[in-house]
């Protein structure tokens, strides 16, 4: 399972994608993904907000994830 990283998320992780091997390691919901990355990279806890996009749409915590989805970490946006 590949997770796309943008903006400060990319800086925190130090690379533009994050990889979870299928099976035990991979998060099964948006909420689980948020928890996993916040545990591994505590800097995420300091952000104003943290959203996850599944197939390029904002996804709520209960949404399930699978390896075919395009998943992205969306740190606080600041366009304009």
């Amino acid at each position: 399972m590949n997770i796309l990283l943008f903006g400060i998320a990319k800086d925190i992780v130090g690379q533009s994608q994050l990889y979870f091997s299928e099976g035990e390691d991979a998060p099964s919901t948006v909420l689980e993904l948020k928890k996993k990355i916040s545990e591994k990279y505590p800097e995420f806890r300091k952000l104003t907000s943290l959203a996850i996009a599944v197939n390029s749409e904002y996804a709520e915590d209960h949404v399930s994830l699978n390896g075919f989805d395009e998943i992205a970490v969306i740190p606080p946006v600041s366009g304009g």
Partner: protein
């Protein structure tokens, strides 16, 4: 509505915006342009760098344009955002709308920029002399 322009570009040409929004049924065109300003809270900005999740950003921009045309009676709508390195006075975003009467285009224009800043996955890094900061990342 087919009369909408939704784009992410490397650089914005401000001279074409009014002709893009002009329409025989419109009596008013309202446009907002966001530009890079020299100082943020008293500190001199050297440059801004914009990054986007393009596929999703275009979807979110499109949603905003559709919402605006549902709320107001608009003839044309534009949402165009630039990415990459920008320096002082560079235009970074253009939003605008045309409508028969001016109320609709003013209100829609404000709605477009406010919504864009809330939901569209675009990120801005401010570069100062001695540091760089992802805007809005931290409380």
């Amino acid at each position: 509505m087919q009369n909408k322009i939704i784009e992410i570009v490397d650089s914005i040409n401000t001279s074409q915006v009014f002709s893009e929004l002009s329409d025989a049924q419109s009596g008013g065109i309202c446009v907002f342009i966001g530009t890079v300003r020299e100082f943020t809270q008293g500190e001199a900005v050297v440059s801004l760098e914009f990054e986007t999740y393009k596929k999703m950003a275009l979807k979110e921009m499109d949603k905003i344009a559709v919402e605006a045309t549902e709320k107001w009676n608009l003839n044309k709508v534009i949402i165009r955002h630039a990415v990459g390195l920008k320096v002082i006075e560079d235009p970074v975003v253009v939003v605008g709308a045309s409508s028969a009467h001016r109320d609709a285009c003013f209100e829609a224009c404000r709605y477009l920029i406010d919504s864009l800043k809330e939901t569209v996955p675009i990120w801005k890094k401010e570069r100062f002399e001695n540091k760089q900061v992802w805007v809005s990342a931290h409380p």
